[in-house]
Every structure is written in structure tokens, then in C-alpha cells.
Assembly symmetry: C2
Homo-oligomer: 221 residues x 2
Amino acid sequence: MTDPRDAVRIPLVGRVLEANDTIAAVVRDELQARGIFAVDLIGAPGSGKTALLEATLRTLAGRRRPAVLVGDLTTRRDGDRLARWCDRVVQISTGEGCHLEAGQVRDALSGLDLDGVDLLFIENVGNLICPVGFDLGQNVKVGLFSLTEGDDKAAKHPYLVTAADLILLNKIDLAPYLTFDRAGFEADVRLLNPTVPILGVSSTTGEGLDGWLDWLDAPKV
Amino acid sequence: MTDPRDAVRIPLVGRVLEANDTIAAVVRDELQARGIFAVDLIGAPGSGKTALLEATLRTLAGRRRPAVLVGDLTTRRDGDRLARWCDRVVQISTGEGCHLEAGQVRDALSGLDLDGVDLLFIENVGNLICPVGFDLGQNVKVGLFSLTEGDDKAAKHPYLVTAADLILLNKIDLAPYLTFDRAGFEADVRLLNPTVPILGVSSTTGEGLDGWLDWLDAPKV
């Protein structure tokens, strides 16, 4: 069914994305020139993005030199949590904005001392849908799902799964208390993205974090 | 900081919302004329919206005459789950759309036999942000959070909390396995919405469902 509003809306969405991509290309060039590998971390609210980054930053200490941008509608809670483990953290408040855009990343980076930084984590706003279409100048997109969300979420969020360079399945420590068909989840991922690695992790117990850190260290094409 | 794209975007968002509100008013009038009470259920992916509705429909059998609209980007999984408990279910596929709009509700209702129906559940797309601003012609908005998402989600999603007529806190059966500061969560809710009821529920054990069903039955202003 055609919605007459789409005549206005679809070209506008195209223009917004095009403007975003132009800025993202500039961000990407600058990061590349500085030798910074950038990760756009996308997951639902409560999937454990911040807890994963806390565990990651703690483990990376002395091994890599990370910086973090973290997007939320409001509050500085995530930024404050991450600042305990990393001295280069910027909290981006999006207001009613449901995703980060490249202009926000560009502006946040301009306020950061990037000397020596070799790894940039961008924790996107908690949302499995809207962040997917916005290039932030990242090298890779990581899709974070968690066991507590149910095993149907890959099938129901095909745009993220298709776009992801890595799928992390978080909160595996809670498996004994949940019904989660991991083989079914992985089969759904495979239908959409046959080659993407899928790693189980727990920020609480640390299980699987080595695999995630090895993936970060490995050269990417 | 002013983004030059906002000159185009902000008026357009206003026009989209205005068009939506016009349709929502028509939907609301039709539902009211039929004596149907409509609930817009908003929660994150994996917060347990479908499981809550399954348990609700099972319990309501013979007590109320419900119909359900359920929004997802893709798949018929939720609609199929709910159709086991209710013979009037429509699955709405939103494609890349991150929320339901009133026009989709209007179109879905036109395909449903509403004779005798007195309760309409609209399960929105799994997203704590975008659905909030779109009036669907509902009587009430219910914000569904779950213990597994962490206790900071009310503070981080103030627009939903402020707009909600009821806050449900789901998956309380998992409390023994999680760290969740319920008093802190409720205090965050109270700062944003001093009078909204907050009910703990578990679709798995059935705990708290009576309170939710009583709330549905109680007259609303």
C-alpha cells in the first residue's frame, strides 16, 4: 500500500543519509590517518553494551590505547561508568534521537585528545533498528544480542545481522536460567550473513572475552 | 550546535507527526464508538512483550474479548505465537520502520472482525524510543521494562516513562540471578512520572499478572 507521505519522506531520508555518509567519509579518513580502528557497537537497551565495554577496557589496559564515545538520549551514567576504565570518554546526548550520526561522532572526536589512541569504541544508542543505516566512519559494526532477549532476535532484526562484521551473544552466564535455542539463533544468523563470526560472551564471568579481544586484535580486510 | 539539516528535518518531523495524529484521532473515535479499550505496549527488543501478551490472553479467555495487532520489522513469529491464544490477531510488517504509525493501525483494523471485541492490544515494534511520539489512537500507553535490561533504563528513557500510563517491570522471576536495584529503578520512574503505577510481573511464573489484569479492568479517567 502506498502512503502519500512517502513521497516526501523517502527522498528526505535519502538526503539525510547522504549528508551523513559525506561526514562519515571524512571521519573515516581522519581515523585511518591516525591509525585508529573504530568499532560501532549496536545492541538493544539492556543488551549489555556498557558492561561489555567496561570488561573490555579493563582487560585491554596496557595492551591497546582505547577511546570511547557513548550515545544515550540522556544521563551521563554510561560515560561515567566507562570513565573509570578509560581516560578518553565522551558522552553524547542525543535528546530524542534514536541513533548516533556521523556529525555527532565528528564533533565528539574534535573534543578528544587522540594522540596515541589506536582503538575507538562507539557505543551506539540502545536500539536494534535505527543505528544500522547510519555510517559513523567505523571500520566494523558489532551487533550485540543477549540471551535474555530471546532466541528470535536475529531473525527479527535482519538489517543489523546483515550489516554486522561480528555478532556477540552476551549474558551466556544466564543460560541455566533461561530457555534459549542457541543453535536456532545461530541458524537464523547464518541465513542472513553466512560468514559473520558469532561469539558468546559474559561480561559478568569474563567467559568468551578472550575471543572478542583476539577478534579486535586480528587484522581485518 | 545547530545542524543545517535540521532546517529541513524538524518541519518534516512535525508534518509526519501531524498527519499521524489526524489518523490516530479517527482510529480513536472508531474504537470508542465500538467500546474497545486500546493498549499500546512499548518495550525494548526482548523485554517480553509477546510473552506477556501470551500469558495475558491465556488468562483473559472468557473474561474479555481481545484482539491484537503486533508490529515487527519482519517475520510472523509473534503473530503466530499470539494466534494460539486469540483468533483476532494481525501481524504488521514495518520493513525498516522502527515504530508503528496510526495509518498501519487503521489499515490492520480494517481487516479484522471487531464485532464483540472490547480490548485491543497493540504490541509495538521492539524499541524504547521511536514508538513513544506516535499516537496510535490508544487509550493507554504501557511501558514494559524487564529486570534483565538493568535498573538504569527508566532514567535513560524519560520520554517513554513520562508518556506511560502504566510501567510494567517484567521477568521478576529472574531477580535471584541478577543485580537489579528495584528501589532505584522506581525512584527514577517517580522523578519523571510521580503518579504512574509500577507493577512487577513474570510471564513465566504468572506472578503479578493478577495486578496487571485488574488494572486493565479498572475504569480509566
